[in-house]
């Protein structure tokens, strides 16, 4: 490929108060290619995206678009030039319909009056193209699952008809099936000459869809223009993290068959999304729930945790039955939940990292209700160091952290509490390769110390690699249960999709 660069970036610098997010980024994007951006959590990928799409103004550096130096005055200017972006933080407006969100800012209108049916029709077409005839253009976006919101974001980006499409971790919330559809569309677009900048922490995806790779580390380009199919994995990881990682999934210890049942769920039903779920987790065991997006796994976890009221069934921890619909009771009994949507369900975005970590363990730091602030910070510091949260500093406000680092903060909260039962819903979503193996490591250590772990993940590989036992959930029912080493990825996918028009 010797086509001239569609976009060329030189020496871009972006600073935030106290942090230099980008310290000199160079890379080129050619028409018709899929250019992948790789880097650890906090490396600056999302910031770069925002600079390119006009959402941030760079402090230094030069951006050339079709050979001319440009300085986008805002997102509108970028969109007009043909740059469309899907942001990591799913910036949609709850309360507006799907169609309204798709055309927000570039509404179809005459003299200010919107053409609603036309917008609906086009949205319908875009959603169909994305393999989602099930999403209604009239639905309130706030009521959609994250996965479906991601689809809407993609529809929105497609509706802009851009020459450059930037996607910041689009696959994080999608299941394999949907990723396949997404890749189909990317291929379609690149064939028409559209350039795609693609961000993902999943190296397999990069190999499958990418043409060239640029690696960022601490806000700088460490390598650019690498061939996505040729470059070797250890080399990539080395460039991203500066160290060599092997053996992503930790060694499993066989579960002691005599270990006590810590979590025991019987006939759990919510009367809507799932029914008759039985689940037993022994001390030291990791149980994985596999299933498609929307299969009801999150609801199952939330109901076990008491965050939703069940319609029937029981939940016991260490043989003691929990009150229905009471998170307090679950937490007191030693349960912890890492929710699926970290931003809306997990984090106190405007508060310090340490406060986010200790919020569920406050009484451990208090005597007569008075907190020992310093002890809190120290414990939190220990955990953030162990999880390699970057930038370091427990006083930092969580909002300023990158997506993956935010995820680690939520994890740290429950690590601190030392639960009896830990429910993890997509714990590695948006987490980089390095930190991922650290999280796997931690989960394993917790299990080995006697904690009962339930993990939901859309990455089958992760479920199989981490769990001792696997449950496959389809449309709210458990359709398979068995040891993880007796089943392989394709079998799980078959079970997951059975009866699903794939």
């Amino acid at each position: 490929m010797t086509a001239p660069a569609l976009l060329s970036v030189r020496g871009v610098v972006k600073r935030f108060p106290g942090v230099t997010a980008l310290g000199g980024v160079d890379f080129d994007v050619r028409a018709g290619e899929v250019h992948c951006l790789l880097g650890q959590n906090g490396a600056g990928k999302s910031t770069l995206i925002k600079v390119l799409s006009g959402a941030h103004r760079p402090d230094e550096g030069e951006i050339r678009w079709r050979g001319e130096v440009v300085s986008f005055s805002g997102p509108t200017a970028a969109m007009r030039s043909g740059v469309a972006a899907i942001y990591q933080e799913l910036d949609l407006v709850a309360g507006l319909s799907v169609a309204d969100n798709v055309f927000l800012g570039h509404e179809l209108s005459t003299a200010g009056f919107t053409h609603r049916s036309e917008a609906r029709r086009r949205t319908r077409a875009l959603l169909d193209r994305l393999g989602h005839p099930d999403i209604s253009p009239d639905r309130d976006v706030g009521r959609l699952s994250v996965a479906h919101q991601q689809i809407v974001s993609m529809a929105r980006a497609l509706s802009l008809d851009g020459q450059l499409l930037i996607m910041d971790e689009p696959s994080a919330v999608l299941d394999p099936d949907e990723v396949r559809v997404l890749f189909g569309i990317i291929r379609e677009l690149t064939a028409q000459g559209v350039a795609v900048v693609y961000i993902s922490h999943r190296l397999a995806e990069i190999r499958e869809i990418g043409d060239r790779v640029t690696v960022l580390k601490d806000g700088r380009t460490v390598a650019t223009g690498l061939d996505a199919r040729e470059v070797r994995t250890p080399e990539l990881i080395g460039m991203m993290t500066g160290r060599v990682l092997e053996n992503v999934f930790p060694q499993r210890k066989p579960v002691d068959p005599a270990a006590p049942e810590v979590l025991c769920v019987r006939g759990l039903t919510d009367g809507d999304r799932f029914a008759e779920v039985d689940l037993t987790v022994h001390a030291g065991e990791v149980v994985g729930l596999a299933g498609l997006v929307g299969s009801g796994r999150s609801e199952i976890l939330e109901t076990i945790y008491g965050a939703r009221k069940s319609a029937g069934g029981t939940v016991e921890v260490d043989g003691r039955r929990l009150r229905r619909g009471s998170v307090g009771a679950a937490v007191r009994a030693g349960m912890g939940l890492c929710p699926e949507e970290r931003k809306s369900q997990g984090l106190l975005l405007d508060q310090a990292v340490y406060r986010n970590i200790t919020v569920s363990s406050l009484s451990a730091f208090a005597s007569f209700g008075f907190l020992d602030d310093r002890a809190e910070r120290d414990r939190a510091r220990g955990l953030t160091e162990a999880l390699d949260v970057r930038p370091a500093g427990v006083e930092r406000v969580v909002r300023g952290l990158s997506g993956g680092n935010q995820q680690k903060v939520v994890l740290a909260r429950w690590l601190l509490r030392e639960c009896r039962v830990l429910l993890l819903d997509e714990p590695t979503r948006g987490v980089d390769v390095g930190a991922r193996s650290e999280i796997y490591e931690l989960v394993r250590e917790l299990a080995d110390s006697g904690v009962a772990v339930v993990i939901v993940s859309s990455e089958v590989e992760e479920v199989l690699g981490l769990a001792d036992r696997v449950l496959v959930v389809r449309e709210g029912r458990v359709v398979h249960e068995g040891p993880a080493d007796e089943i392989d990825e394709s079998r799980v996918l078959d079970l997951v999709m059975e009866g699903h028009a794939a």
Partner: protein
């Protein structure tokens, strides 16, 4: 592409209009506002039972509507600001200042010399300008809306007092009074104005890009910015719009009372916000309904009408009002939940 669109639009316009016609509008509004409708109906039933014909009389219903009109216009404007994530405490003061400015001897002189429309234009201009100042302070000065408009409240009332020398200014412009005292097919002009503003507000909020963007700015300003919306400019427009509504309300109040006064519009901020919020608009922004606001206004005005018809003591009225508000809201919630909205 835009030609495509135009064609497609042309083709689909007819059915679209049919679907979004009056009955659909009423249907959907009623659906989402079941609780409010029920509350209003119960209130009216209460009126009929306790006051009989005196309540159900056309004159009385027109009286309720006329009373609702002034605060109604302000509330429609307030719906936009709140939906857009803001709040405005200065509306009453803006009404006062506009009413005073539009009825100074100088303005009335001009009105008599030129045309009574001068009074209307002055009030709209003053109201719009106040709104503009609020908007600029909030959007560009980054002063929290609550504080910025609280400051405007103090300043506008003070200014109104200075201009009027704290006297009630009586209007002596015959054309003006005649126009606003008239009726159109039996409906008082003030009520017609309210209806037009409400309908216009509904269209603006639900059928235009301005409205869509208002939801976005209020619901998720960052997303709105990323979508290319100029959030600050939009915010200024929202407050200016509300300011215009206040100016219009001032005109209506001048017509109703035949006066301009620095004491006009007392506590309108609370009344308007209450009507908007009880109507179902979220105080945190991003969700708003004009129909709900209109119901909210009607509930409050009907309530005081029924109380007066029953000769209830003011204290008992207050207690009953508190209780009824809570019941109305609980009703609205239960019914809205049931209908899955």
């Amino acid at each position: 592409m835009s030609e495509d669109t135009a064609a497609a639009v042309a083709k689909e316009k007819a059915p679209a209009v049919k679907e979004s016609g009056l009955s659909a509008l009423l249907g959907s509004a009623a659906g989402r506002n079941t609780g409010l409708v029920v509350a209003l109906v119960l209130l009216c039933l209460g009126g009929v039972v306790t006051a009989g014909d005196r309540f159900a009389d056309v004159d009385n219903l027109l009286t309720i509507l006329r009373l609702a009109a002034v605060i109604g216009v302000v509330s429609v404007g307030m719906t936009f600001v709140i939906t857009g994530g803001g709040i405005d405490l200065s509306v009453g003061a803006i009404v006062a200042l506009s009413s005073v400015w539009a009825t100074t001897l100088a303005t009335q002189g001009l009105a008599n010399d030129i045309h009574w429309i001068v009074i209307v234009l002055t009030a709209l201009l003053v109201g719009g300008a106040c709104g503009l100042v609020n908007g600029v302070l909030i959007a560009y000065g980054k002063v929290v809306a609550f504080i910025a408009t609280l400051a405007s409240l103090a300043a506008a009332r003070g200014l109104a007092e200075i201009i009027s020398n704290r006297k009630t200014q009586i209007v002596n412009v015959p054309g003006f009074t005649a126009f606003f005292d008239a009726s159109v097919l039996g409906v008082p002009v003030l009520v017609v104005i309210f209806a037009v503003v409400a309908a216009g507000g509904w269209v603006l909020l639900n059928r235009t890009t301005f409205g869509r963007r208002t939801f976005a700015v209020g619901g998720n300003p960052e997303a709105a910015r990323l979508a290319g919306i100029d959030v600050r400019r939009h915010t200024v427009m929202l407050y200016s719009l509300l300011g215009l509504c206040c100016g219009l309300a001032a005109v209506m109040l001048i017509a109703r009372t035949t006066t301009g006064s620095a004491t006009h519009g007392g506590l309108y901020e609370l009344d308007a916000i209450a009507a908007v919020v009880i109507g179902g608009t979220l105080l945190t922004g991003g969700r708003g309904t004009i129909a709900g606001t209109v119901f909210g206004v009607l509930i409050f005005t009907t309530l005081s009408n029924v109380f007066t018809l029953n000769n209830l003591s003011i204290s008992a009225q207050a207690v009953a009002k508190g209780a009824i508000i809570v019941v109305a809201v609980l009703l609205q919630q239960r019914l809205a939940r049931r209908s899955g909205a």
